[in-house]
């Protein structure tokens, strides 16, 4: 079985072979294969730019792997600013002894996900670190997108806005937790890891005014809602019953004492829109398989500034606090 050696990161022949045999073969496009020191891009005004590093363990999980995650993570960050993803960079730090076969599988799913998004990987880097100095493989991606929907910002939510979630919450966090702790339950639990751009693009084209978008990654729904309440100086009231949560995720939470609101998602996002547009928004979302459980879960209010309030079905309310402490490190 072929394994990554320190020489693969040495910058010599082995590095060159690795780049040609794996990265160019999978990511091939005319900008990347020019192999210049930097990619030369022709982009107009209104650009969004983002970067993210991925350290998830386990690197392969039900519903995806670190490679797929590294592409959708960055594409989704662009999408949340109303930006169509155009160009990506990727940098790998690989542990000495890592299997070629696994690297190829990771790179292949990155290529597929990039192709699907319509973006291109135009530059990259590879380093190899001695065995024991990192856990298998870390990937960084950065991305540039063209803003096609303006005015989307976490500062723009107004009292009266309706809060929508694009799907059932907590699947990525619950999947990683179960796989990492080796909890072998009979379950169909699968990460929600998905490219959100198609749904965001459809919302943008519909002409609906979108006040805010955010993908509920680390910290889950609880973190996003608290960030919004804080940034827009509003209160947010959520009806507990309307938040879509699968039986599997609820079950994991029951067994281990977690809250589904704190669990990370990698293909689920929140939307704030005018109340009048809310149902139209849901109709558009439901055209996409990964948004089939999209739901209105609450609304923004002028009171309780900076706070998120969770209403139970029996009439009690409590604050939904942002998650604290080391809930689950290295989830993405």
């Amino acid at each position: 079985m072929q394994k990554i050696q320190l020489s693969h990161g040495g910058g010599g022949k082995e590095t060159n072979d690795l780049i040609h045999d794996i990265f160019y073969r999978q990511f091939s496009n005319n900008i990347l294969t020019k192999a210049e020191d930097a990619a030369v891009l022709h982009v107009g005004p209104d650009i969004a730019f983002t970067t993210d590093s991925f350290t998830v363990t386990p690197i392969f999980f039900n519903g995806g792997n670190i490679g797929k995650l590294s592409i959708v993570g960055t594409i989704n960050d662009l999408a949340m600013m109303g930006a169509k993803p155009l160009f990506l960079s990727t940098a790998f730090i690989i542990e000495e002894g890592f299997e070629f076969e696994k690297l190829e599988a990771i790179v292949k799913s990155m290529a597929e996900e990039t192709l699907f998004s319509g973006a291109k990987i135009v530059c990259g880097d590879t380093k190899v670190a001695p065995k024991g100095s990192l856990d298998n493989i870390f990937i960084n991606t950065a991305g540039i997108g063209k803003i096609i929907k303006h005015g989307v910002s976490c500062h723009n939510i107004e009292p009266g806005n309706t809060i929508i979630v694009s799907g059932d919450i907590g699947r990525h966090g619950a999947t990683i937790l179960m796989e990492r702790e080796g909890i072998d339950l009979k379950s169909t639990l699968k990460s929600d890891c998905a490219n959100l751009w198609p749904a965001v693009s459809a919302l943008a084209e519909s002409g609906i005014k979108i006040n805010a978008l955010r993908d509920a990654t680390r910290g889950g729904l609880a973190a996003v809602l608290n960030e919004w309440a804080d940034a827009s100086n509003i209160g947010i009231v959520i009806n507990e019953k309307s938040v879509p949560i699968s039986d599997e995720v609820n079950g994991v939470c029951e067994l281990l004492g977690f809250e589904p609101y704190d669990f990370a998602n990698e293909g689920t996002f929140m939307i704030a829109v005018k109340n009048a547009d809310a149902h139209h928004c849901i109709d558009i979302l439901k055209r996409f398989e990964f948004c089939k459980y999209a739901a209105i879960i609450g609304n923004a209010v002028a009171e309780h500034q900076g706070k998120v309030i969770l209403r139970s079905e029996w009439g009690t309310s409590r604050f939904l606090e942002p998650p604290k402490g080391e809930l689950l490190p290295r989830i993405c």
């Binding site: 139970s312 029996w314 009439g315 409590r318």
Partner: protein, 371 residues
């Protein structure tokens, strides 16, 4: 029948039933002669009560008061100092359970010392202690065991396995406590408690029989409750009924799990490997005679407290003057009475033990503050 996980809790959270119970309690409570101060002893109950906002579903003359039933919260600082001293010995691995790692001792916490490079591990299952000892034959492995009667049988099993398998390098620092003595201490103190919701999981092991003398002596109704909102609301209703009928009995609401006699096999295991400790100092409450366990003399060669006695600090360490965990654990004050609650003392940087564990009253108040 294909039983799903959610079938185990779904109906116990039915909003209509919760509302109906709330109405029934309000109705019955009109006949109460005096306000009811119900202490839920167990930290697990405190958590559920706060998470589901149950205090808001009770009439003004019924209050929940949170009790001393969180094993992490009642651990005095000097015993954490002892755990740290043990962890710092050469060639040692110290094992304990979850939240214990973060509780501040007099100078440091196990989490701090872990960051300093000492080998301190949190176990999911106490039985992993055997595996870790076998995998590290050249190291001393010390299990810092904590918990009420619910977790004691598991420690007894680990001791049994250590003896049977003749594991040479596993030692025990036992901090297991018993639930009835602190309840008695609460009743002897200044609190207004006149009823108890008794712990469900402890009672599975001990049976309901352990609470009888307490109910009679202090004329307090005691209801053993399950851990869903409907269980707790139903238990409150049973307490109100008893009060209205001037009864003070032990009743089991959690009858799907608890019996009068408890789990004989578990009781037998505990009695085989552990004996009553003369004294144990509870955080915030002080010394309660006969309120904790230690390893049976016969197995004292496994007892880390005896073997390493010369390095163990024994000086009682008091809590910070601003922290009122003690009065909270005795049912005299509430977390919101504390000056440092939610500002200086928060879950990430707890001053007192009640803020550390998710079963602690302060932590539950902080996480689930009502609106």
């Amino acid at each position: 029948m294909n039983l799903k996980l959610k079938d185990l809790f779904y109906e116990f959270r039915n909003p209509d039933t919760i509302k109906a119970l709330s109405a029934a309690i309000a109705d019955e409570a009109k006949q109460l002669e005096k306000p009811l101060y119900i202490m839920e002893v167990c930290g697990g109950h405190t958590h559920i009560i706060m998470k589901y906002g149950l205090p808001k579903l009770l009439p003004d003359n019924i209050r929940f008061v949170h009790g001393p039933g969180c094993p992490v919260c009642i651990m005095p600082k000097e015993r954490i100092d002892q755990a740290i001293a043990l962890a710092k010995m050469d060639n040692t691995i110290l094992l304990t359970l979850g939240d214990m790692i973060r509780v501040p001792g007099s100078k440091s916490s196990l989490a701090n010392e872990r960051a300093n490079g000492y080998d301190i591990r949190a176990l999911y299952s106490p039985l992993d202690a055997i595996k870790i000892a076998e995998e590290n034959p050249d190291k001393k492995v010390i299990f810092f065991a904590i918990g009420f009667e619910t977790t004691t049988p598991m420690t007894a099993v680990v001791i049994e396995q250590t003896v049977k398998k003749n594991v040479k390098n596993l030692y025990f620092h036992i901090n297991h406590v018993i639930v009835v003595p602190p309840m008695r201490a609460v009743m002897e103190g200044k609190s207004k408690i006149n009823a108890f919701i008794a712990p469900g999981h402890v009672s599975i092991i001990t049976g309901s029989k352990i609470f009888i003398s307490l109910a009679w002596k202090y004329k307090t109704p005691i209801v053993i409750s399950g851990f869903e909102p409907i269980d707790i609301m139903r238990s409150v209703l049973m307490i109100v009924d008893q009060k209205n009928k001037r009864q003070s009995d032990v009743e089991i609401q959690y009858s799907r799990a608890v019996a009068a006699e408890g789990n004989h096999r578990a009781q037998e295991l505990i009695n085989r490997y552990m004996q009553l400790r003369e004294n144990f100092r509870w955080r915030g409450i002080g010394n309660i005679p006969g309120s904790a366990l230690q390893i049976m003399d016969k197995y004292s060669y496994l007892d880390a407290e005896k073997l390493f006695a010369d390095i163990l600090p024994n000086k009682p360490a008091e809590d910070d003057k601003l922290c009122i965990c003690g009065e909270i654990l005795r049912g005299i004050k509430e977390p919101t009475d504390c000056k440092v609650f939610g500002n200086v003392c928060v879950p990430n940087t707890p001053m007192g033990s009640c803020m550390v564990s998710s079963e602690g009253a302060c932590n539950a108040y902080y996480r689930y503050r009502g609106v």
